[in-house]
Amino acid sequence: MFVSTDQGGRAKPDLPAELAARARPVSTAASRLLPLPDALAALFPDGALRRGSTTLVAGSPGGGTTTLALALLSTVSAAGGWCAAVGVADPGVVAAVELGLDLRRVVFVPRPAGAWADATGELLGAVEAVVVRPPGAARPVAARRLAARARERRTALVVLVDHAGGWPFGPDVSLTVRDAEWEGVGEGHGHLQGRLAAVAAAARHPAASPAVHRLWLPSSDGSVAASPVCPASPTRSATTAPATTA
């Protein structure tokens, strides 16, 4: 046991293998990608959240958009990166932890009122990823400025809107959540166990083709998971517990 006093060449302890695998993406300054939970990697052309990109998460309120947007931050946060949520009113802290966020590095600005764009702009560049829910439709000027600032400051911007028209600036990746169905609740029995939803992913990237993925948003342990059910034949059962793919 010895301590190096040299700040520049600080001796770092060897990490356990499984921790090192999770830590690498955000601890490397040169990395252009932020890690995602396995279940969400397939939604993105890079298999990860690109720094400086804008991702749109659209869907009707109550359909799982907040869960999906915050889930995009979970691995970044768990691996040591800072995240922020602006304009997400009354976020459920326990649900955020179940999604895998590390509360110590998540900044919530639930009610920025008129200053939502300023608050988001301030956080871009200061944290690794920002989720923002603009109140109503965002003005094109504000949207373009924030997207440009995100690209310049290399922070991933996730915009949460009720419908794709709520963000008047073309995102890099657009995720639309629909057909959400809760499982596990019958007429007076069971408990909410998971929500199966279809997420349509479209990227501006020319090589990527739009695809529909079926995801648990969330699954029975509160995290997000890919559904093993084939997209063509979604089976719906009120009694079977959703499988949680690790």
């Binding site: 009707s60 907040t66 869960t67 110590r104 998540v106 944290v127 809760w182 408990h191 929500r195 029975s220």
Partner: protein
């Protein structure tokens, strides 16, 4: 010279006092450099140079008083005083006087022994008929050492104004606490960094948080904390960033697996937890309000739901009720929770209390 803000000396749960005090320090610092925090609510500054600059100590007191009152913004009175040495200066602030240089021993002589905050010594001395610092100071130093020991010698020298510092006057944590509220330290220093240190990312984020708090107000920038309880609102709370962590190991609570609580709903938890629950109406097929009976069962199957006077929505499925008799020993709260899925596929968490339904959370 010492400045004391009596109402800021004890920190409440929200950490407002430390934040206010850092504003007081900033205001004082603009008038005179070398302002030094002593403990929460009190600070010192060298009087000689600034008083010459402002044209006398009385002028400096006026200027300083106005600046500090402005920074306090109504948070109580401010006491300013000057004397040689920290101990005398703090008492001078309490009395609101300016003691001339060399006059500290005389000034101290009339104070009671209680101000030394050494109750054992004070009791012993009072039995000997010594009640004031002046009487104590008059005792010969060598007798004090022989009869009362080393600690008393230090107090004796303080009472004689030979020494200005008395152990216990300065709060060793004050610097750290102030850096915390100013956002110069991340909230949870011990565990924030990946290798146990503070990374560049931590500092960047803390700076942005401090700027946001300055712009939107401290209550607008929040952090999540996990707690104990059954309510979604008890188990996870949002508190202002930088507010005082409860318990001795704030970081540990955040990483600990939540303990099992009977009556707690299994995951997934609601993604939206309303700070102020909304009134809801739940009726059965005949339009009668659904109630939770004494046996913990619903009076009838719910058929329609309306939130905050909004349109009626069909109830497709529900689960519960889960009874949660909180503080059952005082009989104060009997609550039951119900998960409801409506016709649009949206799930909500309702709570029934005293015959009324409330929307507590949404599963968005």
């Amino acid at each position: 010279m010492a400045v004391c803000c009596p109402l800021l000396q004890h920190e409440g749960e929200r950490g407002e006092e430390a934040r206010r005090f850092s504003l007081v320090l900033r205001a004082a610092d603009e008038l005179c450099p070398w302002v030094e925090p002593v403990a929460l609510g009190s600070c010192t500054l060298p009087a000689r140079g600034p008083s010459r600059f402002f044209g006398g100590e009385a002028r400096l007191v006026d200027q300083l008083g106005a600046a500090v009152i402005g920074a306090l913004d109504g948070a109580g009175p401010v006491q300013i005083g000057a004397a040689d040495g920290l101990f005398a200066a703090l008492l001078a602030a309490r009395a609101g006087v300016i003691v001339p240089p060399g006059g500290s021993a005389t000034f101290l002589s009339s104070w009671s022994l209680a101000v030394l905050r050494r109750p054992d010594l004070a009791v012993t001395l009072q039995r000997l008929g010594i009640h004031t610092l002046g009487q104590f100071a008059a005792l010969p130093a060598r007798h004090v050492l022989a009869r009362f020991g080393g600690e008393a010698v230090l107090c004796h020298r303080v009472a004689r104004a030979e020494v200005g510092e008395l152990p216990g006057l300065r709060d060793p944590r004050i610097g750290h606490r102030l850096r915390e509220v100013r956002g110069e330290l991340p909230d949870v220093t011990p565990q924030a960094g990946f290798f146990g240190g503070t990374s560049a990312g931590d500092l960047r984020a803390a700076g942005a948080v401090a700027r946001l708090q300055a712009r939107l107000g401290p209550e607008a920038v929040l952090t999540g904390r996990l707690g104990e309880g059954r309510d979604p609102a008890d188990r996870g709370r949002l508190v202002p960033w930088g507010s005082r962590p409860e318990g001795r190991h704030p970081g540990r609570a955040a990483c600990r697996a939540p303990a099992p609580w009977p009556g707690r709903l299994p995951p997934p938890s609601p993604m939206v937890v309303l700070g102020d629950p909304l009134a809801a109406e739940l009726v059965d097929r005949a339009g009668r309000p659904v109630r939770v009976g004494a046996t913990g069962l619903l009076s009838d199957a719910p058929a329609r739901l309306s939130i905050a006077g909004g349109p009626w929505r069909q109830v497709r499925g529900w689960a519960g009720p889960w009874p949660a008799s909180e503080r059952w020993w005082s009989g104060r709260r009997r609550r039951a929770r119900l998960q409801v899925v409506d016709g649009g596929g949206e799930a909500v968490l309702l709570a029934a209390e005293r015959g009324r339904w409330w929307l507590e959370g949404r599963y968005d």
